[in-house]
Symmetry: C2
Subunit: 248 residues, 2 copies
């Protein structure tokens, strides 16, 4: 059985390595225990929903490939983008408390997902001390990152917001060993604006401006960062320590 599901275990270890276990250390045996309860679902197609607001919460999800947008619909019917999830990142943490999802999640492109039921996380994290520590850290990290976004939304100009957003993406890709200077934005301009509290038109204009001043090269959704220094300069204000957790 172990043999038969080998490929599954290996790929999902990769997933938990990135999402559930990275950057903290579990033993291989512990990792196996986690991997055994991680399910790999069928990929989501672009536009397909992973869960919606109000739906019962049962599981946490880790993005394996692709990208997810988390959002809410307010009573005017307007969408409010809450965040984007890239490979290695975990969704659903905001629903643990209420046991109902308080946001919806939709694939921005074809996306592969790992699922782990939260009750299994609870069971395992009582047995595996490192996993409990790890979960606390993951949750804490999410809080810290949300607070950084709050600071951004509270204070910054349009250019600073876009700069921070791009630097943030750049760092996240870098962490996953992808290019930090050339990547594809998985989300629409509308989503970026919505997320950053800006009108679409403003997003467009700032992109154009940054392109003219040779900070970026933008071609549709493809972005190349030419002057990372400048971007980092307008982005900072926040992130006393972007480099996140030191291990242990």
């Amino acid at each position: 059985m172990k043999e038969a599901s080998n490929k599954f275990v290996v790929t999902c270890r990769q997933c938990s390595l990135n999402a559930l276990c990275f950057p903290y250390s579990l033993t291989f045996d512990e990792m196996d225990e986690v991997d055994d309860v991680v399910k790999r679902g069928k990929p989501l197609q672009r536009g397909q929903e992973l869960f919606t607001t109000g739906q019962e919460f049962t599981s946490l999800y880790a993005v394996r490939s692709g990208a997810i947008k988390a959002y809410n619909i307010d009573e005017n019917g307007d969408e409010q983008v809450i965040g984007f999830f890239l490979p290695g990142e975990i969704l659903g943490l905001d629903a643990i408390d209420t046991q109902k999802h308080v946001s919806s999640a939709k694939a921005l492109e074809t996306t592969a997902i790992c699922e782990i039921t939260f009750s299994q996380v609870q069971e395992l994290s009582l047995k595996i001390r490192n996993l409990q520590t790890h979960m606390y850290r993951i949750l804490s990290r999410e809080i810290r990152e949300d607070q950084e976004l709050q600071m951004l939304l509270g204070k910054k100009t349009a250019e600073e917001r876009i700069g921070s957003f791009l630097m943030n993406l750049s760092l996240r890709y870098e962490q996953r060993s992808l290019s930090s200077t050339r990547f594809r934005l998985p989300m629409a301009r509308t989503d970026i604006g919505n997320y950053l509290g800006l009108a679409v038109e403003t997003v467009s204009r700032v992109f154009t401006r940054l392109q003219n001043s040779k900070v970026l090269r933008v071609e549709g959704k493809e972005v190349e960062i030419l002057d990372r220094n400048y971007l980092s300069k307008i982005a900072n204000n926040d992130c006393p320590n972007i480099q996140s957790a030191s291990v242990k």
Copy 2:
């Protein structure tokens, strides 16, 4: 010994009841176990710091009485208010991941605090299943609330922000069985503005406007909500479920 520290245990049970244990259920024995490791520190004077950015993280803190402001100083030396903590609320959750405080916390008035070292939380929550569940929920709840603030900062007008802020305070006081319509703002107008991404002057003007339209009665830091309906109407957009976790 148990007798001698009785008063301590009782008052701190009250604290954990509100903060660490509310609204989920621990048995009385479990509560005793938690209470035994909760320390009640000396009260902070107005302006005194509980911890500062960069400082080593060891403990979570629960506000017993008074109010705490969490903030950051950016490299321009500007302050960025991240949040306010009222009686029964917990600070320090954002530092679990990095093991260093990523924000500073300062008393807005004379404030009594409970402290519990995080390593003790970790130990206890391996033994007490309900405490682990409770910690996950507290962390999750913080994430949800931060996301609600993000939505507020991303979209709303000055009036909507102030309205949401006041409704939020009102609900938090209500939860602690205090008046939801008449309370004292523990923070300065500057702090409110800073927190909501508004200039002080704008805060002042909105207060005046809301007072003129008979929605509020404002007298310095004392606020009375006259038209809670209107406030709730301009505040909503957010909070699919303000009433938080259902028990169990």
